[in-house]
């Protein structure tokens, strides 16, 4: 019961304190929102890029375009040889008809129609090789280069490397930006609590004199910082939820990966936003309370 009274007391005082210095509190909350929106943006972009990376990893590692009219026995031998190469997970023969169907399907997904003015379309037959790891692409490519049945070899190794470097760049820039905004947020919350402590110094002095424990004195201020972080997080979650529908098609178009924008991802993102908001609020107020309330006995 005593614990419940303590919690109720601290929450009520934190709420009152938050609104007593409304301007400062709202300014600090706004910076929390700014930081969390940036964080959300970064996580969404990184999720899209990661998804793209996995897509590339999961799709064809190496494609071997075959000479026209390759006899079936040569094709079978080639397929058997490829399947025993190190790093090859799967090798499938794609006849010209299927290649054409895929091309048409791709155009349909883009909302277009494949139209060459009635001219016949003939695509090459190929073997699509899925690798256990994209790093095997070079050795498989070398092995295929020695085969007369193969006319040309294409690989998405370059795309993979390019995407990896983009992800690394985005992650670095994002983390630096987040770190700077995070420091600003901490500074704002530390100041907000410092001002709250000074504006209530009379109350604090009386609390000490009448025998209030440290917890009763400190926790309302810590909760006030947490409140700032949580309100900032809730506002950000609402913003992300509202922006979600417009974001989704953009994500699909840019990253071509519908899985990057699943509802599960939104749920995880909301949990991360809430956790970070709460954590930053608690850390800022804890630092401030330690600095401004620890000196007095």
């Amino acid at each position: 019961m005593r614990l419940l009274r303590f919690i109720a007391f601290s929450v009520v005082r934190a709420w009152q304190g938050f609104w007593r210095n409304a301007m400062m509190s709202l300014a600090a909350t706004s910076t929390v929102v700014l930081m969390l929106v940036l964080l959300s943006g970064l996580l969404i972009v990184l999720a899209g890029l990661d998804s793209g990376l996995h897509y590339i990893e999961s799709k064809v590692g190496v494609t071997a375009r075959l000479r026209d009219n390759l006899p079936q026995d040569q094709l079978d031998t080639l397929l058997a040889d490829i399947r025993v190469l190190p790093g090859v997970k799967k090798a499938d023969y794609i006849p010209p008809e299927e290649a054409l169907n895929r091309l048409k399907q791709f155009y349909r997904e883009q909302g277009q129609t494949l139209d060459l003015g009635g001219a016949p379309i003939s695509l090459y037959a190929s073997i699509e090789i899925l690798l256990t790891d994209p790093t095997f692409a070079d050795s498989v490519q070398t092995a295929l280069g020695e085969r007369p049945e193969v006319e040309r070899i294409t690989t998405r190794q370059v795309d993979y490397q390019k995407l990896l470097s983009i992800i690394g760049y985005v992650r670095t820039v994002g983390i630096i930006a987040l770190g700077l905004v995070g420091l600003t947020v901490l500074f704002m919350i530390v100041n907000m609590i410092r001002i709250a402590v000074y504006s209530r110094s009379g109350e604090i002095e009386i609390m000490r004199l009448v025998g209030a424990s440290d917890s009763f004195i400190r926790w309302p201020f810590i909760l006030e910082g947490i409140l700032c972080g949580v309100i900032g997080a809730v506002v950000t979650i609402i913003l992300v939820a509202v922006a979600w529908e417009p974001i989704k098609p953009i994500m699909v178009r840019v990253f071509q990966m519908p899985t990057a924008v699943s509802t599960e991802f939104l749920a995880v993102l909301s949990a991360v936003i809430l956790g970070v908001g709460l954590g930053v609020g608690a850390l800022g107020s804890w630092i401030s309370v330690r600095a401004n309330l620890s000196s007095a006995a």
Binding site: G202, M207, A212, A297
Partner: protein, 246 residues
């Protein structure tokens, strides 16, 4: 300080368990200012004691040591059976509930009513609503403010504000009430009203230690007087006047 100034003391019998005991207490601030020198005092439970002396004599330091706002640089301070030098920080709140304190400037919360000011002291120590509803009206009745419970401090006279502060100081049924210049901001008539209240509280068993410059009150009351000068206890006399009479 010379021995001639420090003596003679009039011994006060320690038949009753002391609620305050200071043994060889010295206090020197970090800036080198000496606030108290070898102070030895024992105040038994139920006593009414005046703490007198000119400004800067060490009265405030004396009080700050009793509520453990500061620790002495030498000697021991024991309050209500607890040695404050060895007391853990976490035990300080429970000590302060055993000591009520009022100041010259009242230190009431201006946005809270009389009732809320007194209730606040219970609320911040985890009292239940039922306890608050039970205790606050009783205390406001004791200090004669039951009809002013909805008033804000600004709507009260100085004497009424000090009574509110006294009610707040008594919420935890303290063993001792420390009054630091409680009549400093009050007119003579109101001051006497307040002294009557302190006498009444003392008669109920609470030890009262009152720091004051008010010679008229000290001389009229003829209670125990502790006189400080330059940090030294120069007089500890029962039934005494504000100034030495011999």
């Amino acid at each position: 300080m010379t021995d001639a100034l420090r003596l003679p003391y009039v011994a006060v019998p320690d038949a009753v368990e002391p609620v305050i005991s200071m043994v060889d207490v010295g206090m020197t601030y970090p800036n080198g200012k000496v606030a108290l020198v070898d102070v030895n005092v024992s105040i038994p439970e139920g006593d009414f004691v005046f703490l007198v002396g000119p400004s800067g004599a060490g009265k405030s330091t004396f009080i700050r040591l009793l509520i453990r706002e500061q620790l002495p640089t030498s000697g021991r301070v024991v309050v209500a059976g607890r040695d404050l030098s060895t007391m853990r920080r976490s035990q300080v709140p429970s000590l302060r509930r055993r000591i009520g304190i009022v100041f010259q400037d009242f230190r009431l919360l201006p946005a809270k009513t009389v009732y809320e000011n007194v209730a606040f002291a219970l609320e911040v120590t985890g009292a239940t609503s039922a306890e608050i509803r039970k205790r606050v009206p009783r205390l406001l009745n004791l200090v004669g403010l039951h009809e002013h419970d909805e008033h804000l401090p600004a709507q009260l006279s100085g004497g009424e504000q000090q009574r509110t502060a006294i009610a707040r100081a008594l919420v935890h049924d303290p063993a001792m009430l420390i009054a630091d210049e409680p009549t400093g901001n009050l007119d003579p008539v109101t001051s006497w009203d307040l002294i009557q209240l302190l006498i009444q509280i003392n008669a109920m068993g609470t030890t009262v230690l009152m720091a004051t410059h008010n010679q008229e009150i000290v001389n009229a009351m003829r209670r125990r007087v502790l006189a400080l000068e330059h940090g030294t206890l120069v007089r500890d006399e029962s039934g005494a006047a504000y100034e030495r009479e011999y």
